[in-house]
């Protein structure tokens, strides 16, 4: 039987002193819809180890990463094989919530290194200055011509969540744009 295949199957990680780009495939992703003022929202936050972030464009990180997607919408991201869906369902009980497994809907490309912001600025219209979009910030926006969820994971690190069908396009785009920052100490590996 064939192995599981991530969307940009031909994506080759690249890294240099300035920039590292790699795919983080097969994460568990749950789309969560719930009234933020409801009891269920509070219970789900408790179960996940941190209240659901209600400030637009922020994320929390406890048992899973929880990214604000809209006023009643979050993306819950666990490691490969995690089961946040079970945790959320148990916490929500019979309340009116929307819980949808979207693990394969998007894949994740990590962009890291001192030039990560410069790379993303080629295609992202958001202000990515560290004072504006530092660790803990996330946004749904456009990168090049693809819809993405962008999350700042560290001072120089980002996760780009991209729809699987766009992943090949975005990988090609990123690699072309990254060429400028890969000249020093470039290593590519499969």
């Amino acid at each position: 039987m064939a192995e599981r295949l991530s969307p940009p199957a031909r994506f080759t990680p690249v890294s240099s002193d300035d920039l590292r780009i790699a795919e983080v495939p097969f994460l568990t992703q749950i789309n969560l819809r719930v009234d933020p003022k409801s009891r269920a929202a509070a219970d789900i936050g408790l179960a996940l180890g941190a209240p659901l972030p209600t400030d637009p464009g922020t994320c929390t990180s406890a048992q899973a990463d929880v990214l604000w997607m809209g006023p009643d919408e979050w993306l819950v991201v666990g490691e490969r094989g995690d089961d946040p869906e079970g945790t959320i369902r148990a916490a929500a009980g019979t309340a009116h919530v929307g819980i949808t497994d979207v693990s394969a809907q998007r894949t994740v490309i990590s962009v890291d290194g001192p030039r990560s912001r410069d790379l993303l600025a080629h295609g992202c219209a958001l202000d990515l200055h560290p004072r504006v979009f530092g660790p803990g910030r996330c946004a749904q926006t456009m990168l090049a011509r693809a819809l993405v969820v962008l999350a700042a994971t560290g001072e120089e690190g980002f996760r780009v969540f991209v729809r699987s069908s766009f992943a090949g396009y975005l990988a090609d785009w990123l690699l072309d744009a990254a060429g400028e920052y890969l000249r020093k100490g470039t290593v590519t590996s499969r």
Binding site: M1, A2, E3, R4, L5, S6, P7, A9, R10, F26, N31, R33, H96, V97, G98, I99, T100, D101, V102, S103, A104, Q105, R106, D118, A121, H122, G123, C124, A125, L126, D127, H129, V132, A144, R145, A146, R163, S164, S165, F166, G168, Y169, L170, D172, W173, D176, A177, G179, E180
Partner: protein
């Protein structure tokens, strides 16, 4: 040819070629300065009249010196860096595109700042330094390769050092600050709403991208864009050797180049006296200064000044050889000279300010248009708002920079200390002369690039035109590559002269982006070639590629079109694939269909409102086909709805409409029905979908899913089952888009390829593409939304009355079905067409007429062909068409005009194959 480089001017030699001849310049030259240094006077022939033209200016305002080189079809010699081996050709007549593809890389960057300063002259540098001192994020963009704006042209001192040195040091200090970005060789060419400015950075052939577009969002903007010297319209003012006085000064001070040996200076103001002094010091003999005023400026001792005089003629067909001057009460004098320097005063560069929506006001003192009120957050500083002294520009810039930073929320910080400048002589007031009056205006040029003269402008006003916008379009003045940088205000002034109206009342034409020419390739940036538009692929894409499928574009998706075997063309491959599905079993990648998970206690009620048919009666485990309409009753999308639980449905949409349908759902939920407890989530790409179709599909499925009871009674049509297929968790739906027994197998997209390979591994399944899918569905009369519909088609038009509920009190579109228009008997109905010649394939889009001979135009058309294919099972070509009153025309013969031919066709039902539906259970 004599060198006109100043003695002792140092510079690394650079060899270049112009119009087939070899020359040498020095590093730091522009092509224009290098040509002048080599004594080249004529660099172009004017486009309309073929008159010889020389270099007229020294930067982006140049109207004459256009060249082509490499793949660049049009560049200004005055802004083109001289590089080793440059091979340029003058443009004679119109430019033309290079036949070579441009293989350079172009890209773009988004940038944000508190204060954007445009221009790195004295005002811009002072503004940037003042703003940066507060801690604000600053971008300073300047179109020149070296900082200082006019300072390298005028060689003035700042803070006791040469101005260009001060500028370079100041810019370097700015660039060293963490929150300051310095963009050199970067022209800001567009100023749009909400302080969005677009600039092009010319990075050069050796850079990773040759040119880069900067998209800058600034909280505050300081425009320190400087001023352009004004030309004067007089007879012969287009001769090679006529040059703006400040530009000649720039060639001497910036490049060490003398644009001539003996010069007459024609001026209305003091600035040309400084130019004359610098040129004289560089070695140009100043024959005379011709001043239109009665009081002279401060000329150097020994320079003859003719006050109250104007230039009335220029001698020399190929270039200036003499200048004739006239003054009231004086005898005309012809002065020998090879250079005529002109200064009509200075026009502030208000282009970007005007693009920002700023109003211009006429300033009588300078005779120019200066910035007035504006609604955007922008300051204008220095010469761009009519401040023409060095000290004034530094002070004005610093104040504007500080104000901008404060407006952006920054206050405290290192104060910027305005550097000392030498005391300036008090200026005599300038005169405002645009035009030297004459009996004949045929060689008084207004726009050199468009060959527009004062006579042309007067012809326009003589024809009754009064608006400068109309005169611009009538004469083409101001429409060339330079967009009227020199000619725009001059044209207004000449119109004013002709009509006897003050310039202030006429105003200027509208300033529009781009301020400088920008290549389409630059604007396209990375969005070209393979990255031109996102390519969307399914999890099975690599397999389709490996098996040689050509792809059909469906929106941004790439879908396998057909799978040709060796020696097969498309027709043969599709007939084979169709035959396989109708007689055996085939498989198709159906992953691109949109999928939306609809959850919540009110989900059924919600779907009842969206679909024309009833969804709330659907049982868990069952599937129903549905149609959605817009409120106007026209079909918007169709697909299947499967009920997963009492409060959960999975909706499929057409491939092209997936995002639109989700947006549609959210729109109604958020804006009209917020009380409905429903959540919608796209899961399109979470699933890979393999359609298995044909009488043999049950056996294939049974083999892959041993745990699934597949007989017709256990797994009836329009139901679904969760099971394992090929060892993978799968949801199998028994639905058909071909009329055959068929299943759609859904697995997690990561497992899509594994499923597909398992299906293919059975050895009995023929892969088929979208073309076969289209043929099979069309034989059954299943419409494709967007192909057989176009936003003017109701379900009834499609022959699908059955899908419109009569029981529901309301749904979107219902009220429109009661409108008279939706029940007109002549509405276009979806019908089938069979050509009389079964080998004749009708083109999609072809029209239908009633008679076998064409009447006189206009020919009434009955409708058009929406889908057309060859059918293996029908043994004929066939088509679907929207035909006026089509259902009442069964059996009628109609005609399709194709070229000179009228092709006869017979109208049939749109369901051409298996109308009883006998095949769907296998």
């Amino acid at each position: 040819m004599t060198s006109r480089r100043m003695a002792g001017w140092q510079g690394e030699p650079v060899r270049f070629r112009f119009d087939g001849r070899d020359y040498e310049g020095v590093r730091g030259d522009t092509l224009a300065s290098a040509l002048l240094a080599n004594g080249v006077r004529t660099v172009a022939a004017s486009p309309a009249l073929g008159r010889p033209r020389g270099i007229y200016a020294a930067w982006t305002e140049e109207p004459n010196a256009l060249v082509r080189y490499g793949v660049e079809p049009m560049a200004q010699a005055t802004t083109l860096d001289l590089t080793e081996g440059l091979d340029a050709t003058s443009l004679r007549g119109r430019g033309r595109l290079s036949e070579e593809p441009d293989t350079s890389r172009y890209d773009a960057v988004h940038a944000h700042c508190d204060v954007l300063v445009v221009g790195a002259g004295p005002a811009g540098l002072a503004a940037a330094a003042a703003a940066a001192g507060t801690g604000a994020r600053v971008i300073i963009a300047d179109d020149r390769p070296v900082a200082g704006g006019s300072l390298p042209d005028t060689a003035e001192t700042v803070g006791g050092v040469p101005g260009d040195e001060w500028a370079a040091t100041t810019l370097a200090e700015l660039g060293g600050r963490p929150d300051v970005r310095v963009l050199s060789r970067t022209s800001v060419f567009g100023y749009y709403d909400d302080n969005y400015l677009v600039a092009v950075e010319r990075r050069g052939a050796d850079a990773y991208s040759r040119e880069r577009v900067w998209r800058i969002r600034a909280r505050q903007v300081v425009l320190a864009t400087g001023a352009h010297e004004r030309p004067i319209a007089f007879a012969g003012n287009d001769r090679p050797g006529v040059m703006l006085a400040g530009s000649a000064r720039a060639y001497a001070n910036r490049h060490g180049v003398l644009p001539g040996a003996r010069a007459v200076v024609f001026t209305t103001n003091d600035s040309a006296y400084a130019a004359a002094r610098d040129l004289a010091a560089a070695g140009v003999e100043i024959a005379a200064i011709v001043d239109t005023r009665d009081t002279a400026g401060h000329a150097q001792d020994g320079t003859e000044v003719l006050t109250g005089h104007v230039v009335t003629a220029v001698g020399g067909d190929e270039g200036v050889s003499s200048v004739t001057v006239s003054g009231a009460g004086h005898v005309d004098r012809e002065i020998e000279a090879d250079l005529l320097l002109v200064s009509g005063g200075w026009n502030p560069l208000v282009h970007l300010f005007s693009q920002a929506g700023g109003e211009l006001r006429h300033d009588d003192a300078t005779g120019s248009f200066v910035p007035g009120p504006v609604r955007q957050a922008v300051e204008v500083a220095g010469a761009a708002r009519g401040v023409f002294t060095l000290a004034g520009c530094l002070e004005d810039g610093a104040a504007a920079g500080a104000r901008a930073a404060e407006a952006a929320g920054f206050r405290m910080g290192d104060a910027f200390r305005i550097p000392e400048t030498p005391a300036e002589e008090p200026a005599e007031p300038a005169a405002h002369l645009w035009l030297v009056e004459a009996a004949d205006y045929a060689t008084h040029f207004v726009d050199l690039q468009r060959d527009v003269t004062v006579a042309d402008v007067m012809k326009a006003t003589g024809a009754g035109l009064r608006s400068v916008e109309h005169v611009k379009r009538y004469t083409t003045a101001g429409t060339a590559h330079d967009q009227g940088k020199l000619s725009g205000v001059l044209t207004s002034a000449v119109v004013g002269h002709a009509l006897g109206l003050p310039l202030a009342d006429l105003g200027t034409t509208t300033f529009r982006a781009p301020y400088v020419p920008v290549g389409f390739s630059t604007l396209a940036g990375r969005d070209r070639g393979a990255l031109h538009d996102p390519v969307r692929t399914t999890s099975l894409h690599e397999w389709h590629v490996a098996y040689g499928a050509p792809f059909e574009n469906v929106g941004q998706w790439k879908r396998p079109w057909y799978y040709p075997r060796a020696g097969e063309d498309m027709e043969a491959a599709v007939l084979r694939e169709c035959h396989a599905v109708r007689t055996s079993v085939g498989a198709m990648d159906a992953s691109t269909l949109g999928k939306i998970d609809v959850q919540g206690p009110d989900a059924a009620e919600f779907l009842d409102r969206l679909y024309t048919n009833m969804m709330s009666t659907l049982k868990v485990g069952a599937i129903r086909y549905g149609v959605m309409c817009r409120p106007d009753g026209m079909v918007f999308d169709d697909g299947t709805v499967i009920r997963l639980a009492d409060d959960r449905f999975l909706v499929t949409t057409t491939t092209g409409n997936a995002a639109a349908v989700l947006d549609w759902m959210e729109e109604w939920l958020q804006t009209e029905w917020p009380h409905l407890r429903v959540y919608c989530t796209s899961v399109t790409e979470h699933w890979a979908t393999v359609a298995l179709a044909g009488p043999g599909s049950r056996d294939v499925l049974a083999g892959l899913a041993p745990g699934l009871a597949v007989d017709a009674a256990s797994f009836p049509f329009m139901t679904w089952r969760d099971t394992e297929v090929a060892g993978l968790a799968a949801r199998v739906c028994r639905i058909s888009f071909s009329g055959e027994l068929a299943y759609e197998i859904n697995v997690n997209a990561w497992d899509g390829l594994a499923l597909w390979e398992a299906v293919m591994g059975t050895g009995t399944v023929t892969p088929y593409g979208t073309e076969t899918m289209h043929v099979l569905r069309a034989e059954k009369g299943y419409p494709i939304v967007g192909q057989d519909t176009d936003g003017t088609v109701t379900p009834a038009d499609l022959g699908m009355d059955w899908v419109v509920s009569k029981k529901k009190p309301d749904f979107i579109g219902k009220r429109s079905f009661a409108r008279a228009d939706t029940s007109r008997p002549d509405r276009k109905h979806l019908v089938g067409l069979l050509p009389a010649d079964p080998g004749r394939l009708l083109p999609e889009g072809a029209h239908l007429v009633e008679t076998g001979t064409l009447p006189e135009p206009p020919v009434p058309t009955l409708g058009h062909v929406t889908s057309s294919y060859r059918s293996a099972v029908l043994g004929s070509t066939f088509a679907l068409a929207l035909v006026s009153g089509g259902r009442d025309r069964m059996g009628e013969e109609l005609y399709v005009p194709l070229g000179d031919e009228l092709v006869p066709v017979t109208v049939t039902s749109h369901i051409l194959y298996d109308p009883e539906g006998a095949r769907r259970d296998g």
